[in-house]
Symmetry: C2
Subunit: 431 residues, 2 copies
């Protein structure tokens, strides 16, 4: 057996404690799989006295994580502090500058500074790994970087936020509305007290930006990513989706479109029989489409101490085994500055739900607005009749059209007197 690999962990929250626990539990197994011992020799966290259920007697304690990152007795730094900037970034930069390998679960940092950090890692001859930053325990980074490396990837998409998927699954199962199910998710610990990061799509967006860079050999481009969350999804729309043979999912989708890269996170209607439509609850799932391999789906727990620790330690085992790959699979200088595809150029089907007065001429007015923008209707459903003259839903799905055209049509529809509420719109995706 060769030399012990000495690990420093910066940050002992849920994932940090889980990582220490895993490395203790499987010390022998990991040594066998790596051909060398892997040992945590130093940790850093805010409060030394906090009881984390861990025996930290044998490891060196650092109050300052940046000092840990620079310590000459450490070979690999695991950054589990979090946050795109600040201490986490300083720890990462310091470790790389000192020629140490860095493993991080920090999706915000990689989404915002991934390209810059890839350059720094390369200059230092060090590895920067981030499997745990994207979809927890699912080895989706490894799959894209290595498993599908023989392919040109045309698209990568999936369910990248377990909280939102749980909420949408529950809404469908129970017929309840977003706010009510969100409260339940908060009670169950599936949603944070401030749920914005999850339900407004930012968490999924960070992950998508990383996957997109890796899939397309491109510089990370979080700034041009289109993000919408699930707050506007209603039980009425979920029920109509079911009736039309669809499921509503919050998807992150990155796709090559005519030499540009489209990156977007928003609610999507997908046909009920495609694999991604059947991923339920808090699970995550990612599909990559390669020109030779076709579609490969990976599904599993996207969060939690155990799954995330599994991904952190997988990166560590790679390093201990001597695997040295560039951060985004090709040298940083070879990463293309991708041209973003703006949402106005998006092409796809649309679901519209209008709340209309049930009187002659309403459908004609709506149909005219769609015709004026060259939008072709696939299905139209008008349901019920308001006995007291109240609004009734009119549901339309369209054939493939253009986002700009759809916006034009919606503006025209909103001017119709008989249309009482702003139209609800969900994009349809055919995979």
């Amino acid at each position: 057996m060769s030399e012990t690999l000495r690990i420093g962990i910066a940050g002992l929250g849920t994932v940090g404690a889980g990582t220490l626990h895993l490395l203790n539990t499987h010390y022998e197994l990991i040594a066998q799989r790596c051909g060398r011992p892997v040992l945590v020799t130093a940790v850093s966290a805010r409060d030394r006295r906090k009881d984390r259920g861990l025996n930290l007697e044998a490891v060196r304690w650092f109050d300052d994580p940046v000092a840990l990152a620079g310590d000459p007795e450490i070979d690999v730094v695991i950054e589990l502090i979090g946050g795109a900037d600040g201490v986490a970034k300083e720890v990462t930069e310091t470790a790389l500058a000192n020629g140490k390998h860095v493993i991080t679960a920090n999706k915000a940092m990689i989404a915002h500074h991934g390209t810059e950090l890839a350059h720094r890692a390369e200059e230092a001859g060090a590895v920067l790994s981030y499997e745990a930053a994207v979809c927890g325990g699912i080895p989706v980074i490894k799959t894209l970087r290595e498993g599908l490396a023989a392919n040109a990837i045309s698209a990568v998409y999936g369910i990248m936020n377990g909280t939102s998927n749980f909420i949408l699954s529950q809404m469908r199962d129970t017929g309840r509305e977003f706010s009510e199910v969100l409260q339940e998710a908060q009670k169950l610990g599936y949603a944070e007290a401030d749920p914005s990061f999850d339900v407004d799509g930012y968490d999924a967006a960070h992950k998508l930006a990383i996957l997109s860079a890796l899939a397309f050999n491109a510089q990370v481009d979080y700034a041009h990513l289109h993000v919408e969350g699930i707050r506007e999804v209603t039980s009425v729309d979920i029920a109509f989706a079911e009736e039309l043979g669809y499921r509503i999912k919050l998807l992150g989708i990155a796709r090559r479109v005519d030499g540009k890269i489209s990156q977007r996170v928003h609610p999507v209607m997908v046909k009920r029989d495609v694999p991604i439509a059947n991923v339920e609850g808090v699970n995550n799932a990612v599909v990559a489409e390669g020109d030779f391999v076709g579609s490969i789906l990976s599904e599993g727990a996207g969060a939690g101490a155990g799954p995330t620790a599994s991904a952190v330690v997988a990166d560590l085992i790679d390093i201990a085994r001597g695997i040295r790959l560039p951060t985004f699979a090709v040298p940083a200088s070879k990463l293309d500055a991708a041209v973003p595809c703006p949402m106005d150029e998006h092409e796809g089907g649309y679901y519209l739900r209008l709340m209309c007065l049930d009187r002659p001429g309403v459908i004609a007015g709506v149909a005219a607005a769609l015709r004026d923008h060259q939008i072709s209707v696939e299905t139209l459903v008008q349901r019920g009749r308001g006995p007291g003259g109240e609004a009734v839903p009119v549901v339309i799905t369209t054939h493939e059209t253009n986002e700009a055209a759809m916006r034009g049509a919606l503006a025209q529809i909103e001017t119709l007197e008989a249309v009482l509420e702003p139209p609800r719109v969900i994009r349809i995706e055919a995979f």
Copy 2:
């Protein structure tokens, strides 16, 4: 860029031609991802004059694949001849003996001789890779060997034969019987003229033996693998499964059971809402259960020129990138001689369908047989009434019991005069 990696391909059938096509198509992309050119410099096949739609002018031709395997101008040999023994094995052994890395899509050879070949690779300091041998384009070997390497794996299971899954999916969708759907699958090219390898479970069994060795750090043990195919599955049982909330799938399942390893391929009833139940058509899917990561599912095309070539070239890219891992993730000498768990010790639920005369006392006799063997009934359905005294189906599902007890009960049931046909039995698996 460093030195060109020189490849020799032995075997130019569908996969061989697909691999050459992929390497030509993505020559630049692969060179960028590997940091060095990867070039096919030699090939061998049976008939030099056959038109394969490939330009072979620039490569050296070998009539004898073993000569190719020994050629000093080749760094990596890709073995695509097939067959557990004979030429394929000779090619592999010769290449390894000459210190060359070997990539193979040959599941039979790895299932039968994997441990021995792992030793040979290790002695030679060479890599033996076989991603393409298991589930085509799905990177399931990489996922187990690296992505989930931080976990103790308790089980690995899945749909490992696309032909059988297509037939079972079609039987359910159309209500037709096995033989009819098999003919259709043969017409569509999804089944061979001699379908035995696929529908009798041997193809899945080869794959399972390989996954099992990798998952459990064990010597490959194909000999103790229990194999049943899908010929006995009827549309009646598929319909009853649906009614009971199950799907029937041909699964390969390897599991640690009390220090032993259980390996079996047979039709299984799984609850309709588990992910594996929703894998349809020719797709394959594998689930690995790790103690930290939970369940990770990987799904995609399990066969075909493109997906299989994708896996072959993924292995090649790993080698070109300098990744050197032991054949089964740990040194060959560390592979345990696993104790097999015989089927008699299998524990699980069972589905039974009996064809009985509809007369007093029949159910009592069946129930007594189950009671006599300590088997607890979960559901019992008796359907219809034969007006002319013909047999009616009696369907029973049991709580968890033991295979030996079930065999005893079945022997007793078969002696009942009112039970007209041998009982149909399908194991139920709770994932």
